[in-house]
Amino acid sequence: MMSSVPGPDKKTKLLVYTIEECPVCGQKTKRAFAVGDYVTKDSSKCPKCSNVTRVSLVYAEGVKPSS
C-alpha cells in the first residue's frame, strides 16, 4: 500500500519511501513505505551480500502529477 499526503502546494503529491541500508556492505535500497515500517527495523535481505538490511530512513518526496 503506497501512502501519500498532499504536498505543500496541493498539486504535488508526496509519496512515502522506506530506505533500507545493509549494515555490512552499506548498500542502500529505496522502496515504497509499508505500514509497520520504522527506523532501525530489520528488513529484507541485501541484494548484494544477502545480509539482513535495516530501515535507515522513512521519508516523503514530492512527485509532480503526470497529467
Binding site: 501512502s3 499526503v5 498532499p6 505543500p8 508526496l14 512515502v16 513505505f33 505500514v35 509497520g36 515500517d37 520504522y38 527506523v39 532501525t40 527495523k41 535495516r54 530512513l57 522513512v58 521519508y59 516523503a60 518526496e61
Partner: protein, 374 residues
C-alpha cells in the same frame, strides 16, 4: 437662435452632470462615514463564517478519523463514538499562577495526570495491547481535541462579535482567520501520517540518536524514555530518546535529571537535537546550532533540563533542524530526513570541540518518536 439654444442646453447638461457627480461622491462619503464599519463588519462576518464552516468540516473529519482508527485498527469492542465525544470536551485545569514558586512541579503533576488518564482510557477502549496502536490512538484523539477547541474558540468570538456588533472583535478575528485555518489544516494533515505510523518531521532528533543507540543495550530511564551508553572518540556518551516506534515524546527532562542526579554522571556537555520552527523564507532541513535547552512543549521539560544543567554547571548545546509547523507534524520530508547525516557530523564536531577524551556527554534526541525505534 438655434445656436444659442443649443449652447444653453450644452451648459445645463454639463451642469447636471457636475451636480450628479458631486451628489454621488457626497452620498458615497456619507455612506462610508455612517455605515463604513457596518459594511466592513458585514464582510468580516461573511468571511469568518466561511472559515468557521471549514473548521467545522476539519474537526468533524478528525473526529471521524479517530473513531474509524479506534474501530478498524484498535478493534474497539463497543462503539467508541460517545466515549470519543466525551474525550473531546475533557478539560485540563492549569494550576493557579499567582504564587509562582513551585509552579512547574504543579503543572507537571497536572499534565502527567492527564497523560496517564489518556493512556489508560484509550487502552481500556481498545481490544488490543499493541503500544504503537495505543499511542497512535492517543495522538489522533489529541489532534481531534485540538481542532475541536480551535473551532469552539473561533465560534465563540464570531458569535460574540455578531451579537455585540463589535467591529474590532470581528475584524481582528478576520485577520487571524487565514493563520488559524493554516494551523488547523496542518493538524488535520497530521492525522494521515499518524494513522500510517510514519515518522514525522519532529522525529529528526530521535532518528539521529537512534543511530547511536542501535545495537547497544537500552534501559528505561524515565517514563517512555530509553537510554543507552556508547562511546565516541574516547568520550562516554549517555544517549536518550523517547521509546519508539510508538508516538511518544517521553520525559527527557526527568531522564537528564536522573542521569546527572541519581546516576551521578558528571557530563561536560549536554547536547540536544530537536526540530525547530523555521521562519518563512528559511529553507527546510537547514541546521542551526546554539546554546540552551532545545525543547518545545509546555515548558516543564525545558525547566527541568535547565535546572539540572545549571545545578551541575553543565553547558547546554543545541542542534536544530528547521522546518515549518506542517512539516513537523506530518510525514518527514526528504529534506529533513537527509539532514540526519549532516546533524551527525555537527554532533561529532560539537563533541570533539567542547569536550576532551575521557569526558562524559549526554546526547538527547528530542521529539515525537513515531516510526523511529532505537
Amino acid at each position: 437662435m438655434l445656436t444659442i439654444s443649443s449652447a444653453v442646453l450644452q451648459v445645463s447638461t454639463s451642469d447636471i452632470t457636475t451636480y450628479l457627480y458631486i451628489a454621488f461622491f457626497g452620498l458615497l462619503f456619507i455612506v462610508q462615514f455612517a455605515f463604513g464599519t457596518r459594511l466592513q463588519s458585514y464582510f468580516a462576518i461573511n468571511e469568518i463564517g466561511r472559515g468557521l464552516n471549514k473548521l467545522k468540516v476539519m474537526k468533524d473529519k478528525a473526529r471521524k478519523d479517530a473513531i474509524d482508527y479506534l474501530v478498524n485498527v484498535g478493534k474497539a469492542s463497543n462503539d467508541p463514538t460517545q466515549r470519543v465525544d466525551q474525550f473531546l470536551d475533557y478539560v485540563t485545569i492549569m494550576p493557579v499562577d499567582i504564587d509562582p514558586s513551585g509552579l512547574v512541579g504543579k503543572i507537571d503533576h497536572v499534565v502527567t495526570t492527564n497523560n496517564d488518564r489518556v493512556r489508560t482510557e484509550v487502552g481500556a477502549l481498545l481490544n488490543q495491547t499493541n503500544p504503537v496502536t495505543i499511542s497512535i490512538s492517543e495522538n489522533l484523539l489529541e489532534v481531534a481535541t485540538s481542532l475541536n477547541q480551535i473551532h469552539k474558540i473561533v465560534r465563540h468570538f464570531y458569535l460574540l462579535g455578531k451579537k455585540t456588533n463589535s467591529y474590532f472583535t470581528l475584524v481582528q478575528l478576520q485577520m487571524l482567520m487565514p493563520m488559524i485555518i493554516q494551523e488547523a489544516d496542518a493538524l488535520l494533515n497530521a492525522t494521515d501520517s499518524f494513522k500510517m505510523g510514519e515518522p514525522v518531521g519532529d522525529g529528526i532528533g530521535p532518528v539521529v540518536v537512534s543511530r547511536l543507540m542501535a545495537g547497544k543495550e537500552k534501559r528505561v530511564i524515565a517514563k517512555d524514555t530509553m537510554m543507552a551508553v556508547t562511546e565516541y572518540k574516547g568520550r562516554k556518551l549517555y544517549v536518550l530518546k523517547a521509546d519508539g516506534p510508538m508516538a511518544y515524546v517521553g520525559q527527557p527532562g526527568v531522564a537528564i535529571q536522573k542521569i546527572v542526579g541519581d546516576m551521578g554522571v558528571k557530563p561536560s556537555a549536554i547536547v540536544m537535537i530537536d526540530a525547530a520552527l523555521k521562519l518563512e523564507g528559511e529553507k527546510t532541513g537547514e541546521i542551526a546550532e546554539g546554546v540552551g535547552a532545545a525543547i518545545g512543549g509546555i515548558g516543564v521539560e525545558k525547566f527541568q533540563i535547565e535546572e539540572a544543567a545549571t545545578k551541575a554547571k553543565v553547558p547546554l548545546y543545541a542542534i536544530l533542524v528547521k522546518q515549518s509547523l506542517i512539516e513537523a507534524i506530518t510525514v518527514m520530508r526528504k529534506e529533513i530526513a537527509e539532514a540526519a547525516d549532516r546533524v551527525t557530523e555537527v554532533l561529532n564536531r560539537v563533541i570533539e570541540e567542547k569536550t576532551k577524551e575521557g569526558d562524559e556527554v549526554v546526547v538527547a534526541g528530542i521529539g515525537n518518536t513515531l516510526g523511529v525505534a532505537q
